[in-house]
């Protein structure tokens, strides 16, 4: 009897699962198709390139959020954290510009990465050491980071030094062989994220913790450390997004990054990652970010709805997309 069962053993791993994984990409394809039908300009190479490039921010931050959410956490502070990191980075670059010249840019970027990671560490430690709901902690730090950037800008704005602008611009506007830098950076971040999540022990532990924290603890996984590190990764990703963000807008204001947390979480969930943790789809998140950006773009291109109702249509499309996803991926 047992021999018969073991003979079936070498089965291909989860063909069925892969099909469900495709859902966000199918949704993306459908929305792109709809966009093309609604507005002929949508498919213009230029437009598509713009949309893809700007979805980089949400996608990059989303990679980090995928880690946090996979461990069963949630980070509402990312939008404010972005603003704070952007502010610190600009201040650092401006301060270093006189002595370092153009080298102030990489130096400032390094500062941003450190600050971003530290912000994430702060969130992670309060949550794991203090054992408080991530929702509450990051809601608190959201207020804290937002207040800091307001204070740093004196309620106004904080611009990058003119001497650095030209040198820094290509980080958003430049391209490698026609592929814009932010897209390249997104792909690199997502590749690294996917590698860490799917191909390293840490990634394995991330999903284990999100799946059942008790089991992980009984198996000797340092649950707190895994969770904290996920928040650090989130902070690091926010800093990477900040580095791409500054050359585009050149300034930090108290409204920078406002409500991005909701967009990021939406992208992650549309991408197939479960909010309760235990499952993570890095590439789904990237697709989710693209979906959101495409919807916004189509809304701008089409003149069909009153400007007051744009938000309603966007909200409805997201819900409909999730519903369609649910009912097509028959269970």
């Amino acid at each position: 009897m047992s021999s018969a069962e073991i003979a079936v053993l070498p089965e291909t791993e989860g063909f069925r699962i892969r099909w469900a994984d495709l859902a966000p990409f199918i949704a993306l394809a459908l929305i792109v198709l709809a966009g093309a039908l609604i507005n002929s300009n949508f498919m213009a190479a230029n437009n598509l390139l713009n949309v893809i490039t700007r979805s980089a921010f949400i996608a990059i931050i989303g990679v980090g959020a995928t880690f946090v959410i996979a461990t069963g956490g949630l980070d509402l502070s990312i939008g404010s954290m972005l603003a704070f990191v952007v502010g610190i980075m600009i201040m650092a670059m401006n301060a270093m510009a006189p002595s370092l010249g153009v080298w102030a840019i990489p130096a400032g970027a390094a500062v941003a990465l450190v600050v971003g990671s530290l912000c994430g560490l702060l969130n992670g430690l309060i949550i794991t050491v203090g054992r408080i709901e991530p929702f509450i902690v990051t809601l608190g730090t959201m207020g804290i980071f937002r207040a800091f950037i307001t204070w740093m800008t004196d309620g106004g704005s904080l611009s990058i030094d003119n001497s650095l602008r030209a040198a820094y611009r290509p980080v958003y506007f430049g391209d490698v062989l026609g592929v814009p830098y932010p897209v390249v950076i997104t792909i690199v971040v997502a590749l690294i994220g996917a590698f860490v999540l799917y191909k390293t022990k840490y990634g394995r532990r991330v999903t284990a913790v999100g799946s059942n924290a008790d089991v992980a603890r009984f198996s000797g996984v340092h649950v707190g450390r895994v969770r904290t590190l996920a928040f650090v990764i989130q902070g690091f990703c926010v800093a990477v997004a900040a580095i791409c963000y500054v050359p585009r807008l050149g300034a930090a204001t108290p409204t920078t990054g406002q409500l991005w947390e909701l967009q990021v979480i939406t992208a992650v969930v549309i991408g197939g990652t479960l909010l309760r943790g235990g499952k993570a789809h890095i590439w789904g998140t990237v697709a989710g970010a693209l979906i959101l950006e495409v919807i916004a773009n189509v809304m701008v291109l089409s003149d069909m709805v009153s400007e007051y109702l744009v938000a309603a249509v966007q909200g409805a499309i997201i819900i409909i997309a999730m519903l369609a996803h649910r009912f097509t991926s028959a269970r």
Binding site: M1, S2, E5, I6, V8, L9, P10, E11, T12, E13, G14, Y198, K199, T200, K201, Y202, G203, R204, R205, T207, A208, S211, N212, D214, V215, A216, R217, F218, S219, G220, V221, H222, G278
Partner: protein, 519 residues
């Protein structure tokens, strides 16, 4: 086959008419058929035991009968009337209730709230908590549980939760009560009172379906016995025609040798594990013990004696203070699962669903989670190492699984236990502590697991076994420590390891009487 011929006919043996009849029931999950063409009837006033190996399909059959799962083929009838259940609620309305093998209760509700969930008593608009608590206390007393009705369920030890679950089934008048391994988590005392309850139910004309791997219970209790093997019905026999050995043979389809391996000669060696003055918050006090290589140390005691707490404290899984802990001569100053594993000590939990396995993950991630650093050096995950480990474990521990993409939660209980054993053994430990090693394991697998333990010990390892099954403690242990009220109260060696001595040590000093009066 050495067994007598199965008797199918009602054969005027005094039992009542069939209350529930299954006709050609089958169940398939996708392409895999787990139950094939089962035809049987259940009569009023009988205890009908279902036995079979792990994964034979017993739980599946019970879920079909109680509406938790719908059959892919076949039909059911009650007193000649065709019935089908869309869900468990419909089955309960017909008087059929299943007590699950796993605990299915809401941890945040109180005991009484759980018992009455979905059928709360009301007075006017408001729920009648007083009456529900009163009735709950009554039915808990029937199953011999000292638990108060208003205690939060999540604060109870597993065994007490199991009793609550049984109590829930007894709350209303039932025609058919299905008990799926009700005694797996219970110790002798509770088992005795449970058996008495089942007998009372039989006298009241209730039909009881009883699944257990403890064949002595089946022998003591059952009127008829149905044997399942590999999803198929082997037959139904009057219990009087079977003894334990025959039941075992029918289950596995071959002859079985002795259940327990021969004991080993004691060795003189430095202790592999030394524990001194270990106290665990709200659970155990100043426990000290040692285990030598080549020795099986049994730890006995009643439910709630604090055995699990002591070991979880030792492993750093609960707040605890220790005088001295040494593994293989290495002194451990901070208890932590990973450090202890590195020093050579591992622990297998009694709560395999809640704390042992990731039920939604496949075998590989489960198997390698704990010993990942050991199996897979470096920080990169190497799938080939994982696959190799899985294949090795499936072979070595005889895990019956239909493909590597199966999730741990889809394995039968016994195979989950084997997977868990394989998981903690991945790091090649020197000392293994196993809490309830054969909970929910069939007799064939049991002897397999005993043989694993024997092999380990003969290979120079030390094994600590916590068990509520006295024969198991007696059959396996070279030395037995008995706990009571969070403290060690007796040490038994050699000839003195007997069921009577263990029970005496575990239950003496008026505990029994105290408990009975409280119940």
């Amino acid at each position: 086959m050495t067994a007598p011929m199965p008797t199918d006919a009602a054969a005027g043996d005094g039992a009542g008419a069939p209350v529930l009849r299954a006709e050609g029931l089958s169940k398939a999950y996708g392409p895999i058929t787990v139950l094939r063409d089962v035809t049987m009837d259940i009569r009023a006033g009988e205890v009908h035991a279902i036995i079979g190996e792990n994964g034979a399909g017993k739980s599946t059959l019970m879920k079909l009968l109680s509406g938790h799962v719908q059959p892919t083929d076949g039909s059911m009838s009650m007193a000649g009337r065709a019935v089908s259940f869309a869900d468990a609620v419909q089955a309960e309305a017909e008087g059929i209730v299943l007590v699950h093998q796993e605990i299915l209760l809401a941890p945040d509700l109180t005991v009484a709230q759980n018992l009455f969930l979905g059928r709360e008593l009301t007075r006017g608009l408001a729920v009648d908590d007083r009456e529900m608590n009163r009735r709950t206390a009554k039915v808990l007393a029937r199953v011999g549980s000292p638990v108060r009705p208003w205690v939060r369920l999540g604060d109870l030890p597993l065994a007490q939760r199991q009793l609550v679950q049984i109590a829930r089934a007894l709350l209303d008048d039932r025609k058919v009560i299905i008990l799926d391994e009700p005694t797996a988590m219970l110790a002798n005392d509770e088992v005795d009172s449970l058996l008495q309850i089942v007998r009372n139910l039989r006298d009241q004309g209730v039909a009881t379906l009883y699944i257990s791997h403890r064949l002595e219970e089946v022998e003591a209790l059952a009127d008829r016995v149905t044997v399942l093997r590999d999803g198929q019905m082997i037959g139904t026999w009057p219990a009087a025609e079977l003894d334990q050995r025959r039941m075992a043979e029918l289950m596995v389809g071959r002859e079985l040798s002795g259940l327990y391996p021969a004991k080993r000669d004691p060795q003189d060696a430095e202790p592999a594990l030394v524990v001194e003055d270990l106290s665990v918050d709200n659970g155990a006090y100043q426990g000290s013990f040692t285990v030598r290589p080549g020795e099986v140390l049994g730890i006995g005691g009643m439910i709630g004696a604090g055995r699990t707490e002591l070991i979880e404290g030792l492993m750093g899984l609960r707040p605890a203070q220790a005088g001295r802990i040494a593994v293989n001569g290495t002194r451990i100053d901070k208890q932590d699962v990973t450090r202890l594993m590195a020093a050579g000590l591992v622990y297998l939990t009694e709560d395999r669903k809640g704390k042992g396995l990731l039920l939604n993950e496949r075998l590989g991630p489960n198997l390698t989670l704990q010993a990942l650093d050991f199996i897979n050096p470096g920080s990169r995950l190497r799938r080939n190492l994982e696959t190799r480990a899985v294949r090795g474990a499936v072979e070595e521990y005889d895990i019956r699984v239909r493909g590597l993409s199966v999730q741990a939660g889809q394995l039968s209980g016994g195979n989950q236990q084997k997977l868990l054993l394989a998981k903690v053994m991945q790091a090649d430990p020197k000392v293994v502590i196993i809490d309830e090693p054969t909970r929910g394991i069939d007799i064939g697998n049991k002897s397999q697991i005993y043989r694993f333990i024997d092999t380990l010990v003969r290979g120079g390892k030390a094994v600590v076994v916590i068990s509520s099954e006295l024969p198991e403690l007696v059959g396996l242990s070279d030395r037995v420590l008995v706990m009571r009220g969070g403290r060690f109260v007796a040490e038994l060696t050699g000839e003195r390891i007997t069921e009577q001595n263990i029970v005496y040590a575990a239950a003496s000093s008026g505990r029994d009487t105290a408990k009975r009066t409280r119940a």
